[in-house]
């Protein structure tokens, strides 16, 4: 039997692909076919496939955004009857909640992440400042400007600027939460005309202009990672998984100088961090459900974590999914482990904002229309960052297009 698995081409997944020999060894009757794609391409492919019942995949890698929507449509197979030693209860509750509907698990988390501040201790010291464990945005702004030395190619802060709902909008939505902003009010009215959003975006654009790298509007996770590893960023606020990359001396020039802190806040009770888990799900209607479940269980099991640890060291274990991992004394030695757990625990998808909202999702709104809308809004914000439109105009456009799209989609429902 051949399982076709769609995965994202990030480091953890590629590693899983390489280690999957262990699985096929144990299950000689199962062959694995991999479709490894870049995130957006993957999402389009699997979404098209599942929505049209193309049936090309047996296992799909999807995120916390898709799971509730797809589960609601009945497109996903419930993950019940997993082996006993799988220990569903070991999964971090925040993550598990995001992947369940009516308490039924529809996807198994492969790794989970939040966001946090990664910074260069040496540069911080040079700037004569000290990073608290829970910084405020004000501090970040000040520190970033102090660390910037454009002539030397050092930029105080690297933040996502590339348009896309999973790129700049993930960051900006989470940030906006900490500024007290929200996407929609309880009547599903767009909120980009509020002062909170203006504050968020102004702060972001000013900061990036003063202390960001050139071309920030094209920088996504990858670009910033490269910049940071290359020693060009003083701080970087991004996914917690990045911690293992930036502390890996093979790839990173600054591995021994990286410190971590919680994502900043504005004293409003919400931090600017998100919650995301790349998870494995099985489309409803696959004929290979048993084998698929077997594989999902293997890839997200405790044993898999140990397998990675024994092969590649604890620092490279897919993080953010299991309590037991964080209780493991070996893993606690990893410098970013504690901070990652704290960040994940600090995010609350069901109550993401200062004011009440009708939706779930920290850095996204779990409605099908969100991808399109947020990508368009992301384009506007990227344009503002690139200086092609003013912040004011970008917000106006965002407000207009969101309102349009929501009314087209028939909200409030």
């Amino acid at each position: 039997e051949t399982l076709t698995i769609a995965t994202v081409n990030n480091g953890d997944m590629v590693r899983m692909q390489k280690l999957s020999g262990e699985f096929t060894k144990a299950n000689p009757d199962i062959d694995l076919e991999w479709v490894t794609l870049e995130e957006n391409a993957l999402r389009q492919k699997v979404t098209t496939d599942i929505a049209t019942k193309g049936g090309q995949f047996d296992i799909m890698t999807i995120g916390t955004y898709e799971v509730p929507i797809w589960a609601k449509q009945g497109w996903l197979l419930e993950l019940d009857g997993l082996p006993d030693d799988y220990d569903t209860d070991d999964i971090l509750p925040g993550i598990r909640g995001g992947l369940s509907m009516d308490d039924k698990l529809f996807a198994a988390p492969f790794y989970g992440e939040s966001s946090m501040v990664m910074y260069r201790k040496d540069l911080m010291e040079k700037a004569g400042m000290e990073m608290p464990e829970d910084p405020t945005w004000e501090f970040i702004g000040k520190a970033a400007r102090a660390m910037t030395d454009k002539d030397a190619g050092t930029y105080g802060v690297c933040l996502r600027g590339k348009a896309g709902w999973g790129e700049n909008m993930a960051f900006l939505t989470a940030t906006a939460n900490s500024f007290g902003a929200r996407w929609f009010d309880m009547d599903w009215k767009a909120q980009f005309d509020t002062q909170q959003w203006a504050d968020t975006l102004n702060f972001y654009v000013d900061l990036m202009n003063d202390a960001g790298p050139p071309g920030a509007s094209s920088n996504g996770f990858n670009e910033n990672l490269t910049l940071f590893q290359n020693g060009q960023c003083g701080m970087w606020i991004d996914a917690t998984v990045a911690a293992s990359f930036v502390t890996n001396p093979d790839d990173s020039k600054v591995a021994d100088q990286v410190g971590f802190a919680l994502a900043p806040d504005n004293g409003l009770g919400k931090r600017g961090n998100w919650l995301w888990a790349w998870s494995l799900a099985i489309p409803a209607g696959t004929e290979k459900a048993e084998s698929a479940k077997k594989f999902v269980a293997w890839a997200t099991s405790k044993q898999y974590l140990e397998l990675v640890a024994s092969n590649e060291g604890w620092a490279n274990v897919p993080p953010g999914t299991r309590k037991s991992l964080y209780e493991n004394p070996e893993y606690q030695k990893v410098p970013f482990a504690a901070m990652t757990l704290k960040s994940i625990e600090a995010a609350d998808p069901t109550n993401p904002t200062v004011d009440e909202v009708p939706y779930v999702g920290v850095q996204f709104v779990a409605i099908p229309e969100f991808q399109g809308i947020a990508t368009s809004v992301g384009q506007q914000f990227a344009a503002a960052l690139a200086g092609q439109v003013s912040v004011e105009d970008a917000l106006k456009s965002a407000q207009a297009l969101t309102t349009r799209a929501m009314s087209k989609a028939g909200y409030p429902k």
Partner: protein
């Protein structure tokens, strides 16, 4: 040649191609047309009749006019660069020189490169404002690196696409140039025309046919430029580098709004046909098909 027999055979031989192409065109097009009148989102099951709502939304989308402008800018910009540049380069290559064969190989290479690879290479290794080669060049010269994709997205895309198509234009125009009857040039020389006059009065008009082909073929491909945008700018910032195909793509594959995407597709088809009519006029005049 034209006996009843051969005419019948002619029809029989032509029909497979015509019928297949017709089906290939009409079946999906009809489905698209049908979808365009539906509320149909892949992510929300069920469809319902939408009237012209999808068209309304697509056509009143502020992105639409920007995308229309960008589409034309890309087609026009690339055409101008490749045709003018191609003519000049062809003129250069037509001169006697050493190693012409190898130079031709160097010239044609970009045409063989996958668009995706082209875009990836340019974006990452050249235009990246911190790690790209251009940034390095600017730094070495003491200038500030330009953020190509952030600040000049459309121009950057035009540049990348021009790089891909310049070889095509150059080599076709070169072939055309080499086909120019040398007696004509000599006649012009006898008539007292200077090198510049010969270029404008004899060579350029001679290239008209080849130029037409270059324009036609390139327009066909340029109208649906997509991979380059997807890889480099994602249509942004804002809508600065979104063209019509990309806009339709956003509707269909980002929002999974099949209804809206179909409406966009139909609009794109109509626009492409308008361009096609103009183009075909020109072709009909310059190429005796």
């Amino acid at each position: 040649m034209s006996t009843t027999h051969s005419r019948t055979a002619g029809k029989a031989m032509l029909s497979p191609a015509v019928i297949l192409l017709f089906l290939w065109m009409i079946v999906p097009l009809a489905m698209t047309l049908y979808f365009s009148f539906l509320h149909y989102n892949l992510l929300t099951p069920g469809t319902s009749f939408a009237g012209i709502a999808n068209y309304q939304y697509f056509l009143t989308d502020p992105a639409f006019f920007e995308a229309l402008g960008n589409t034309l800018a890309i087609v026009g910009g690339v055409l101008i660069i490749t045709v003018v540049g191609g003519t000049l380069l062809a003129l250069l290559l037509d001169q006697p020189m050493f190693g012409q064969g190898i130079v031709r190989l160097l010239f044609i290479a970009p045409f063989f490169v996958m668009p995706t690879v082209t875009a990836l290479v340019w974006k990452n290794m050249f235009m990246n404002p911190t790690n790209g080669l251009f940034a390095w060049l600017a730094n070495t010269l003491g200038a500030t690196p330009i953020d190509f994709l952030g600040h000049h997205p459309l121009a950057s895309i035009i540049m990348i696409v021009s790089w891909q198509w310049l070889p095509f234009a150059t080599l076709i125009l070169l072939t055309a140039m080499q086909s120019l009857d040398s007696e004509q040039i000599e006649a012009a020389e006898m008539d007292g025309a200077s090198a510049v006059s010969r270029f404008f009065h004899i060579i350029v008009p001679h290239l008209a046919r080849a130029g037409t082909v270059v324009i036609l073929i390139q327009t066909i491909f340029l109208l649906s430029i997509f991979a380059e945008i997807l890889v480099t700018t994602n249509g942004g910032p804002g809508y600065a580098s979104t063209n019509i195909p990309y806009l339709v793509y956003m509707q269909s594959l980002l929002q999974f709004d099949v209804g809206g995407g179909s409406a966009g597709g139909i609009v794109a088809v109509v626009l492409a046909n308008i361009v096609a009519i103009f183009l075909m006029r020109m072709v009909g005049k310059n190429l005796d098909l």
